[in-house]
């Protein structure tokens, strides 16, 4: 079994078309992030919103390497995963606000859960690390059924410490399951810096122990993330087993919106994104096209928010539905 640890900082090449497509996704996520930031600040909302501001390139780059039929287990930070996989933004916001028009029919809200089996969006475990075993299990189904699908599992640098990673990663390698482990390393497990809670510099350093490739990419560069993920996806699709892709990114905001972050002094409480993925992409796309995409993304986000807020709140009757079939 091949084992390598590659640390690439380069951007890789990308066709103009690809760059434009990635720009579109990154700016769509960004527009939603900024809008939600404002909305939550002004109106509050019941629940916990974990902003993904600044991490758009990881979500856009990695998910764009998947096909429609591939499965996705997403993490708790932002809505980008599902947005890029094809879910409508008003549905995602409907879930966030606990509205009937959300994909889980009003049962979401707070730390948002959304789902779309048709698009392969399969959910999220509220207990960090439960995605690992679920993802490996889904990949076992794929293998059993002889399907041409790959399973992508997103997780943070913090969740990487869970024992479920070990159990799932070992078994997935032994069975050569079609899984891609995608680590969004934003440098923080809530208030604990990754650097203080990892004995190695990179999460990817742990891949070799599981006999799988581990790659580190610049998580602000969506083209690089996409390329690394695509390589891992192709390997999985070819029946060669799992890989780990670690994207180095930044958590711009608090763990949840409202987190005073007294534990942190590396960043101001602003909206500025250092090494902004949009700026990095702008070098590859025509300015006018980018401007248009920005504008479209903003309208999309605004329309989605409006639509979501118009959706009725869930009917109380649903609380007892869906426990058993």
């Amino acid at each position: 079994m091949s084992t390598r640890t590659e640390k690439t900082g380069e951007t890789g090449t990308a066709s103009a078309e690809l760059a434009l497509d990635l720009y579109r996704q990154v700016t769509r996520i960004r527009a939603l992030e900024l809008l939600l930031h404002r909305y939550v600040k002004e109106h509050g909302f019941g629940g916990f919103w974990h902003p993904g501001l600044g991490q758009e390139a990881v979500q856009a780059g990695a998910v764009s390497a998947l096909r429609r039929e591939d499965y996705l287990f997403y993490a708790h930070r932002g809505l980008g995963y599902a947005l890029v996989k094809g879910m409508a933004p008003e549905v995602l916001l409907g879930d966030l606000f606990g509205r009937t028009g959300g994909s889980v029919g009003g049962k979401g809200g707070g730390t948002v859960h959304f789902v779309d089996p048709e698009l392969g969006v399969l959910g999220q475990g509220g207990t960090l690390g439960s995605n690992f075993v679920l993802g490996a299990g889904a990949a076992t189904s794929v293998q059993l059924l002889g399907e041409d699908r790959v399973v992508a599992v997103f997780f943070g640098d913090g969740a990487a410490s869970r024992g479920t990673f070990h159990e799932a990663a070992l078994q997935a390698s032994v069975w050569k399951l079609p899984v891609v482990w995608i680590c969004e390393n934003n440098g923080w497990h809530l208030s604990a810096p990754f650097s203080a809670q990892s004995p190695t510099e990179d999460v990817a350093d742990r891949a070799a122990g599981y006999g799988m490739p581990g790659v580190v990419v610049d998580g602000q560069d969506s083209v690089a993330v996409r390329a690394a993920t695509l390589a891992a996806v192709e390997r999985a699709r070819a029946g060669e087993g799992p890989s780990l892709v670690e994207a180095k990114t930044l958590r711009i905001r608090g763990h949840y919106e409202g987190d005073p972050q007294r534990y942190r002094d590396d960043i101001a409480d602003g909206l500025e994104v250092p090494r902004d993925p949009l700026r990095i992409l702008r070098e590859r796309v025509p300015a006018a096209a980018a401007d248009d995409l920005d504008a479209a993304a903003e309208s999309e986000a605004e329309a989605a928010l409006e639509a979501a807020l118009e959706m009725p709140k869930a009917d109380p009757g649903i609380v007892t539905e869906g426990v058993w079939t």
Binding site: V104, G105, V115, V133, L144, E167
Partner: protein
Amino acid sequence: MSAIAEVPEGVETEQLGYGRAINAALAEEMRRDERVWMMGQDVAKMGGVFGVTRGLLDEFGPSRVRDTTINETFIVGGAAGAALTGTIPVVELQFADFGLVAGDEIFHKLAKWRYMHGGKLSLPVVVRLPTGVVGGAGAEHSQSLEAIAMHVPGLKVALPATPADAKGLLKTAIRDPNPVLFFEHKGMYRTKGPVPSGDDYLVPFGEAATRRRGDALTVVATGLMVPRALAAAERLAADGIELEVIDPRTLVPLDMETIVASVERTGRALVVHEAVRTAGAGAEIAARIQEAAFFSLDAPIWRLGALDTPIPQDPDLEQLVIPSGEQIEAAARELVAL
């Protein structure tokens, strides 16, 4: 007023051990539905630490009968993921106790994932959990933990007490779209009894079996306590005291109707299980009986269960912790006289 046949009359049966009955259910369901598959530690080549899955690797091959490494969170959580994506996993934990090693996966993933995702997903998983004392397996390999599963909504819970039910309930479990915790008593794997031979013998969930009719006292017993209660009932019958013995067979769903109807006739109830008495399933059953039949009760409802202690590893000592047939007999005698 006497024991009732384990299998309805007219059904064709063969004598089979409880473990072999489970094996037959697995084989039949895997033949019936290609999506059904298995994993667990040592279930393939070895056929399971208790030999229950012997022969299945040969018939169904290594893709559908998989040995895992020692990773209970994957065995259960992987089953959840597989169930979400079109297959029907039947997994074995070597000991029911290991359910607590995969506590998040059982109680948060299997039990809640469907609900959390608006009912759009389903998790047809069966987790086979060899339960109970077996002679020297110790504190972490001998527990009866079904009450915990009963307390966490989203799971179904089966506890077969006869070979026929072991087969019939497992087949129902595999066809159920919900996650099912299947507590097989590992001390009963070799118990023989009549087992319906047809492929289509299913025991429905939520229907208690009245194992014996009587008018003096309703005994609600599960698992290994069913034969112990029946034996006690025979001894009491010699003195003219006729116990009604009811085996709920599944705790979720729970057939309180049968139990309550019986207590309304007998006026007295004794609930017996191998699990720790404190906060066990018997507490729930007792609480519900008095809620529903308070004005029919002639005496308090009593419960027998394991002492408030872990199971000692010594095979002689472990039997002192769980209810014996003699204790059931004595309690019944005393309660009837109250």
